[in-house]
């Protein structure tokens, strides 16, 4: 349309929506504008078509009434009034139901700390993806996942392969166990047991982590939840270096996260098993942090010191000790947030509360670095001056328990729960060192293992499990798990006679004193069938 009036204006004219002035002016325009006149006719033709009646004549009331039940609202009037009322509530319910449901979900989450933490972590993962690289002190390092498809070797096929490899110089060692899974290794294989099946988590020969004894020993650092394991080699010679692997125990896939000699490396896992941090003690090299949730590796700037002990919080905050000083780095930017000189060597540093746990003058002390306050826990030996605590006879078990011996007591300090347990042992390892004590997950029991027996004791009970049970582990608060080789007859057995693939996974409950075979690689036991494991 070339004139100033368009189709919309014409519609307004036909609908009677123009003001008197507009209408008068437009009608003057119509006297000479054919296009607008035609437009008006066209629009009117359309409106006329739309408006015309299509139905005239009688309304078929009788026919319709014959199809309905006229008593419906008479007889059941009350019932339909209620239904009518409910149907009117529907729009409100559409709003109210989600609100109530959301409130209930919120209450459930809020009342369950584990669940809320899981969700908060999940949300943080989504929101903070890559956030750690936003600082000059941290850099993400590109790493590639390797899949050797080791987990495809399982059950009977794995048994056959294990027999082919042989047992090597040392029997199966349980490296990690919880109520759902067990991981155990010999020189050649790391094997997983889960849901009634066994599978090969890693071919240790392929990873060159097959050193059991000698100048090089392979070390396995399992995360507290067993989802990952860091594997490296330890050698007394400083120059030695080998790859450090981070392996997913479910899939067998791994990353190479660095290289070094575990003899010179300090490392630790966060309590929840999300972060693994490690640093070379000797070299002034970067600190490496692996995030198992995101499969990302970060290198964090070392402020120029030789790190002796390093720790990481569930939030990824890093703290470390270097001769006479403790450092706390910010969780996201990794700049030095706090540095303090201390007159002790900490056993453990907790980055969130900025505290240090140490054994000093026979006491377990908790130092609040920021507040300059000391909270004393544990055994006070001031009245037993004749007995001194051997500072070399203190160690951290399972990344969590400070275990130490004072007089006739074993002290266990739970770093995660900040709780303290004291056990009076009737018998300690023959070598006198307590570093072979293994603490149960609840910190209430310990055992130590000798070639022919497992000795366990708690606050009120003790016992010995006789037999050739080597390298056991705690599976739950009261269950010990170990691998029983079917062809193993004790130390006199010739290595070549041992069938590495023929074994039982056995549990022993220190409270009920029950022994159970939960898995047999050769013949499935009745126990398994009863438990529905297989």
């Amino acid at each position: 349309m070339k004139c100033k009036y368009d189709e919309f204006f014409i519609q307004k004219y036909n609908d009677g929506d123009l003001s008197i002035e507009e209408k008068s002016e437009f009608e003057k325009h119509l006297s000479y504008c054919t296009e607008c006149s035609n437009g008006i006719s066209d629009d009117k033709a359309l409106l006329s078509y739309l408006a015309e009646d299509k139905v005239t004549g009688e309304v078929p009331v009788t026919s319709i009434v014959s199809r309905i039940d006229l008593d419906k609202y008479k007889v059941n009037s009350r019932e339909y009034k209620i239904k009518h009322f409910i149907s009117r509530l529907k729009p409100s319910l559409k709003i109210a139901v989600p609100v109530i449901a959301f409130s209930l979900i919120f209450i459930v989450i809020a009342s369950n700390p584990l669940l809320s933490k899981y969700l908060v972590d999940g949300a943080a993962n989504l929101l903070n993806k890559g956030e750690r690289v936003e600082s000059q002190f941290v850099e993400e390092i590109g790493i590639e996942e390797v899949d050797n498809k080791t987990v495809e070797l399982k059950d009977d096929n794995l048994v056959q392969k294990l027999n082919e490899y042989g047992m090597g110089v040392s029997p199966w060692e349980v490296s990690y166990a919880d109520k759902d899974k067990v991981f155990f290794k010999n020189y050649a294989s790391l094997v997983g047991y889960k849901d009634g099946h066994i599978y090969r988590v890693a071919d240790l020969k392929a990873l060159k982590a097959d050193h059991v004894q000698g100048s090089v020993v392979s070390e396995f650092k399992f995360s507290p939840n067993g989802s990952h394991v860091a594997i490296g080699n330890f050698n007394a010679e400083d120059e030695y270096k080998s790859s450090i692997y981070m392996l997913n125990t479910d899939t067998g896939k791994y990353f190479i996260v660095g290289d070094g000699n575990y003899a010179n490396i300090t490392d630790s896992w966060s309590f929840d098993g999300r972060y693994y941090v490690f640093a070379d003690k000797n070299a002034i090299s970067g600190i490496r942090l692996f995030d198992t949730h995101m499969d990302k590796l970060y290198e964090i700037t070392n402020p120029g010191v030789s790190i002796e002990k390093i720790f990481v919080t569930d939030e990824g905050g890093i703290s470390f000790y270097t001769s006479g000083d403790v450092y706390f780095l910010s969780a996201k930017t990794y700049d030095v947030k706090k540095k303090s000189s201390v007159d002790f060597e900490p056993l453990f540093l907790e980055g969130k509360s900025k505290t240090a746990i140490t054994l000093k003058d026979g006491n377990i002390e908790k130092h609040y670095i920021e507040k300059d306050k000391i909270e004393v826990k544990g055994f006070d030996l001031h009245e037993q001056k004749s007995v001194s605590t051997d500072e070399n006879n203190v160690y951290i078990d399972n990344n969590r328990f400070v275990v130490f011996k004072v007089s006739d007591d074993i002290g266990i300090y739970d770093l995660k729960e900040n709780s303290f347990t004291s056990l009076s042992p009737s018998k300690l390892p023959q070598d006198g060192f307590i570093s072979s004590l293994r603490v149960s997950p609840d910190g209430e029991w310990v055992f130590f293992n000798e070639w022919s027996s497992i000795n366990y004791f708690g606050k009120n009970d003790k016992g010995v499990l006789e037999g050739n049970y080597v390298y056991p582990s705690w599976m739950s608060d009261s269950k010990i798990v170990f691998i029983n080789l079917c062809s193993w007859q004790g130390l006199e057995t010739t290595v070549g006679d041992i069938m590495a693939g023929e074994f039982e996974i056995v549990t022993y409950d220190v409270i009920s004193k029950e022994k159970s075979v939960i898995f047999n690689s050769v013949n499935k036991t009745d126990m398994q069938k009863m438990d529905g494991i297989d």
Binding site: L46, E52, K54, L70, Y73, K81, S87
Partner: protein, 185 residues
């Protein structure tokens, strides 16, 4: 309260014979609406009866916050959709119209018939929702808000759709008949 709502209340209170009053008020509007949606006259009457039976059986679900006319057309549109899915519906035949009031010469009658058929064809080419919006606005005289309630759209959005459709139809019609093409056909 408008008289439709009073009637509904009385029916729900047991005076079911008053439903015939609702049928009388809406039968032509509903049936014409269906015919205009390009449904054969006989099928339209059947569908229309189905709609009234449905309206009666579900009357207790009627929400008084809505205009009754809005609700009945919403039911009509849904029933029409269901009918189109469930059974074969015959479309209108050529020349199926009844509105002629003035006496025309045979030539005028032919021309008029041809123009109407062209508008009908143009109109049929629109999608069903747009067709329904135009009919509800210009035949059933519902407001843009009422139409918006039926289609769960804002009144502004309905208005825009209707005005644009009307403009497009006019343009096509204008081209055909003022561009001289009509006489060439």
């Amino acid at each position: 309260m408008d008289t439709d709502k009073i009637l509904v209340k009385q029916i729900l209170n047991g005076k079911t014979e008053l439903f015939t009053e609702l049928v009388n008020r809406y039968y032509s509007k509903i049936t014409s609406f269906i015919i205009k949606m390009n449904v054969n006259r006989e099928d339209a009457k059947d569908i229309s009866q189905d709609i009234f039976v449905k309206i009666y059986n579900n009357l207790y679900k009627y929400d008084e916050r809505w205009q009754f006319s809005t609700w009945i057309f919403k039911v009509a549109i849904n029933t029409l959709r269901d009918s189109k899915i469930k059974r074969f519906i015959r479309t209108q035949e050529l020349g199926d119209y009844s509105a002629e009031s003035k006496i025309l010469s045979p030539e005028e009658h032919i021309e008029n018939l041809y123009q109407r058929e062209f508008i009908k064809k143009m109109f049929e080419s629109l999608d069903d929702d747009l067709k329904a919006m135009l009919i509800l606005k210009y035949y059933n005289e519902l407001s843009f808000k009422e139409i918006g309630d039926i289609f769960k759209k804002s009144p502004e959005s309905v208005k825009m759709k209707v005005i644009r459709a009307r403009k497009k139809l006019c343009k096509t019609y204008g081209k055909k008949f003022e561009g001289g093409e009509f006489y060439e056909m």
